[in-house]
């Protein structure tokens, strides 16, 4: 089945990663590798934008937890954005809310990372 490659971009000193329509093990590992590349190259502010992500499975979530840990480990900042209602429900159910911030849009996430928004919109 064809699933779009993950995309990523740099906005000033922050990185934005788009996991694509289905976050499973395969896409999760791609996100993890992409994130690791950014961290290795010195990027410490990362947004994962789920606007294209229709479905997430538990394996994808567990990999995402690894990504959160990696970013925390290097004192970086990670914000999730654009989650649809059911994915947000899933994250809430699994207690991710206490480990990472979630905001409505990529713009808010970037502002949050640069400190221009004091309180993320959750």
């Amino acid at each position: 089945m064809s699933v779009a490659e993950i995309r990523a971009k740099l906005v000033e000193d922050a990185a934005v990663i788009y996991p694509g329509p289905y976050l499973n093990q395969l896409r999760g590992e791609d996100v993890e590798n992409q994130c690791q590349e950014f961290l290795t190259s010195g990027v410490r502010r990362i947004v994962i934008n789920f606007e294209e992500t229709e479905l997430i499975n538990s394996i994808g979530i567990s990999i995402l937890l690894g990504v959160i840990e990696s970013v925390n480990h290097v004192q970086g900042l990670l914000v999730l954005s654009n989650l649809n209602a059911s994915n947000r429900e899933l994250f809430e159910m699994l207690g991710l809310m206490s480990h990472v911030e979630m905001v409505d849009t990529e713009e808010i996430a970037l502002l949050k990372l640069t400190g221009e928004v004091g309180q993320a919109v959750v």
């Binding site: 089945m1 699933v3 289905y22 499973n24 395969l26 479905l55 997430i56 499975n57 538990s58 394996i59 979530i61 567990s62 937890l65 649809n84 209602a85 059911s86 429900e89 899933l90 809430e92 159910m93 699994l94 207690g95 991710l96 206490s98 480990h99």
Partner: protein, 756 residues
């Protein structure tokens, strides 16, 4: 009692391959339990699996080691001479007794001399065994064959009495007693039931010959239990064929299995012969032509052909009768219906000139071996399609002089042409059965009228899903009050180019009052066509209906019964045809429905029968391979189904997420040998039930105690939380182990506006 034995002793089929006969095995095993006082016949068509039922029953009782001690003996044509039979029977029964006593099945397999068998007896049993053998040897030395046979036959009863166990003696191929000296002694032994030393007998063999062996005035019939072994049902047959093919590594298509079911009439021997032949040639059975090639070759010169050769030889008392038998069979197949016995006698006599033969006796022997059916002066071909093919091919090669390979090719061509018609006729038969069932259930119900008025139905419900239609029908104000149907007659097919049509007459009463004034006749035309029915075809069917109406009215005592016509057309009706049918209402009430309407009528009647509390679900099935991201296909399917059932987007997303987790669990933990995940989606009025099953040892952790709150768990443990996610997103989740894997059933209830 388990359905299948834990160890194979006499049975030839593995647990997997012994399908659909659990109930019969249980009945056989229960025969000799305390209190039972009957002997029994195991009756069934040839090759229905009687021998295997006996063998499986033996294994079952042997492994169970209960109060019943099993004995099994298969008569052989070569050993029906009294002395040879007695020696054989005595030594086998003794070996089986000692095997049971010592729980050592290996004692059964050998054909050891008596002295060697006796050595296997325990010190406790040894004196009794020695004395039994001594008695037998004395009978042997007496030269009295009746005494010898009696002595041998009494062995199971004597063993049961000695060991305080109930003996169940299963005799296979009992029909071979016909015309032998053993028959009288056997009958005497069978009537000995109830005395101090007795056994229960289970007899199997060719049913016509077996029944003839028992005197009609005998007391045996009074206490004779009949266990009937019917052909396997379609589901069991399909399961069996799949397992046979899987065990032999053969690819087989669903359509081929259906074709085999029709063409082989679900005959177990023929089926195994085909699958074995495919395996030995390394052929697949995916397509009709692959199947028909194997079939033709098996019938012309393979195992099936040799078996039927042997059956004909057995029926023939003289090799010179072969041609006469083949001529008789060919004549019956060609006739296609019963013909007077004189015509067959004439044909047989013609081809047996030159040697003396009793034609009627030959026909009788063919009847006994089920090569033809003779009854009340008429003879017909038996309903065995494979036998018919064999006879036609044999006739061509042996009598018409067509070389054997060419005769085989002719048969192959015929079968290929026939296979597609056979599948179509099966479909038509299924619809006919459905219509008859629906008519038979007419019982003054009030049914939404659009189901009998195709155009109105189309106008009202166009674009709606089946689930939505089912709900909307409840609210439809216009109703048709059905009569109560008493009898349904099949009036036969109507020949129409490009159209398959069959007429039925259903007679009953209206209004719940059984008077002549309330009598009604429904004339039904069931029409299968590729296009909506046009006005010309309707006209021709009308003529047939009018003729049918006249003859039905003549046949009825009340010629003034009201007549209603009902056209049920697969593809509906053209606009002009609909109009024409509507105009008919002036003198003849005419209903018109499609096959889909018929389905909904049945569905509505089911609902009424269940008191409106529940309705059978609409079911979809999906099988996906275990491979990357195949679960997305399942999720998309679930989305379409849930949307059609009016679930809101939030619920649809929850269902999709839960299903994805279920698929991942099935794939990760299932260890499934077929690398497939089977899914079933059932929608009824207020819920969607999804069943996900695999053939594996386990299904994630669902069978363990669930964790009450997913959110309460440490987030790091998210991986492996699939089942907790499912429980959180769905309303009900249930896990079951199945014979060959595991099944997860999850339910989502439809929340309608205003519901809690």
């Amino acid at each position: 009692m388990s359905d299948t034995p834990s160890a194979q002793i006499l049975s030839r089929l593995s647990r997997d391959e012994f399908v659909g006969r659990g109930a019969e095995v249980r009945r056989v095993c229960a025969l000799a339990q305390a209190g039972s006082s009957s002997n029994a016949f195991l009756l069934g068509a040839q090759r229905a699996g009687k021998t295997e039922v006996l063998r499986q029953s033996f294994d079952c009782l042997f492994n169970e080691r209960g109060q019943v001690i099993p004995f099994y003996f298969a008569l052989r044509r070569s050993s029906v001479e009294p002395e040879e039979f007695a020696r054989d029977y005595f030594s086998q029964c003794l070996a089986q007794f000692l095997a049971f006593r010592s729980n050592n099945a290996r004692l059964i397999s050998g054909n050891e001399p008596l002295a060697l068998i006796a050595r296997a007896a325990s010190p406790e049993d040894h004196p009794w065994v020695t004395s039994l053998i001594d008695s037998f040897i004395r009978a042997l030395e007496s030269g009295d064959e009746s005494l010898l046979v009696r002595c041998a036959l009494s062995t199971p009863a004597a063993a049961g009495s000695y060991a305080k166990l109930n003996p169940l003696v299963m005799i296979d191929d009992w029909h071979l007693l016909a015309g032998t000296e053993l028959r009288a002694e056997f009958l005497r032994t069978l009537t000995n039931r109830g005395s101090d030393e007795s056994a229960t007998y289970m007899l199997a063999g060719m049913q016509r010959m077996m029944i003839e062996l028992i005197p009609p005035d005998g007391e045996l019939f009074d206490k004779l239990e009949m266990i009937r072994l019917d052909r396997l049902g379609e589901d069991d047959y399909e399961k069996l064929v799949r397992r046979l093919a899987e065990a032999r590594g053969i690819e087989i298509g669903d359509s081929t299995i259906e074709l085999m079911s029709q063409q082989l009439d679900r005959d177990l021997f023929y089926t195994r012969a085909i699958v074995d032949a495919a395996a030995s040639r390394g052929s697949r059975l995916q397509t009709f032509i692959e199947f028909e090639r194997i079939y033709t070759s098996e019938v012309v010169s393979g195992r099936i052909g040799h078996y039927l050769d042997a059956l004909f030889r057995d029926a023939s008392s003289d090799a010179r009768n072969g041609r006469a038998m083949l001529e008789a069979s060919a004549l019956l197949i060609e006739a296609g219906s019963s013909i007077p016995i004189d015509a067959i006698v004439e044909r047989v006599t013609k081809y047996t000139s030159g040697h003396t033969v009793d034609a009627e006796a030959l026909i009788e022997r063919m009847h006994s071996r089920e090569l033809l059916d003779a009854s009340y002066g008429f003879v017909s071909a038996p309903g065995d399609p494979v036998l018919s093919d064999y006879v036609r091919a044999k006739y061509r090669s042996e009598i018409a002089g067509v070389p054997r390979p060419a005769a085989g090719e002719e048969l192959l061509g015929e079968k290929l042409k026939h296979s597609y018609r056979l599948m179509m006729s099966r479909y038509n038969r299924a619809i006919q059965s459905q219509l008859i069932e629906v008519l038979s259930r007419f019982d003054f119900q009030s049914i939404p009228s659009s189901l009998f008025h195709h155009a109105a139905f189309d106008k009202r419900y166009r674009g709606m899903s089946r689930v939505q239609v089912r709900r909307a029908l409840d609210d439809e104000p216009e109703r048709v009050r059905l009569p109560q149907i008493v009898v349904v007659n099949d009036l036969g097919p109507v020949d129409e180019a490009g159209v398959s049509c069959r007429l039925f007459a259903a007679t009953g009463f209206e209004g719940g009052i059984y008077t002549e004034a309330n009598e009604v006749l429904w004339l039904v035309a069931l029409i299968n066509s590729k296009e909506p029915l046009d006005v010309e075809t309707i006209g021709r069917i009308d003529q047939r209906l009018e003729t049918a109406m006249s003859s039905e009215r003549t046949a009825q005592t009340n010629a003034a019964a009201r007549v209603v016509s009902w056209y049920v057309s697969k593809e509906g009706f053209s606009a002009v045809a609909s109009e024409r049918l509507a105009n008919l209402q002036t003198n003849l009430q005419a209903h018109r429905s499609t096959y889909s309407n018929l389905d909904l009528i049945q569905d509505y009647m089911d609902k009424l029968a269940l008191g409106g509390e529940a309705r059978p679900a609409t079911v979809f099935e999906l099988v996906i391979p275990i491979e990357d991201e195949a679960e997305l296909i399942a999720a998309r399917t679930a989305e379409q189904i849930a949307r059609a059932a009016d679930f809101d987007q939030e619920a649809i997303n929850q269902i999709k997420t839960a299903l994805i987790e279920a698929c991942i669990n099935a794939a990760e933990h299932g260890d499934s040998p077929d690398r497939k995940i089977h899914q079933r989606f059932a929608i009824d009025d207020n819920r969607l039930i999804i069943t996900v099953s695999n053939k594996g040892k386990t299904f994630g952790r669902a069978d363990r105690q669930s964790t009450p709150s997913v959110a309460a768990q440490p987030v790091k443990a998210a991986r492996g939380r699939g089942l907790q996610i499912i429980r959180a997103l769905m309303d009900e989740v249930e896990f079951e182990r199945t014979d060959d894997g595991a099944r997860l059933t999850m339910t989502k209830y439809l929340k309608r506006p205003g519901s809690q």
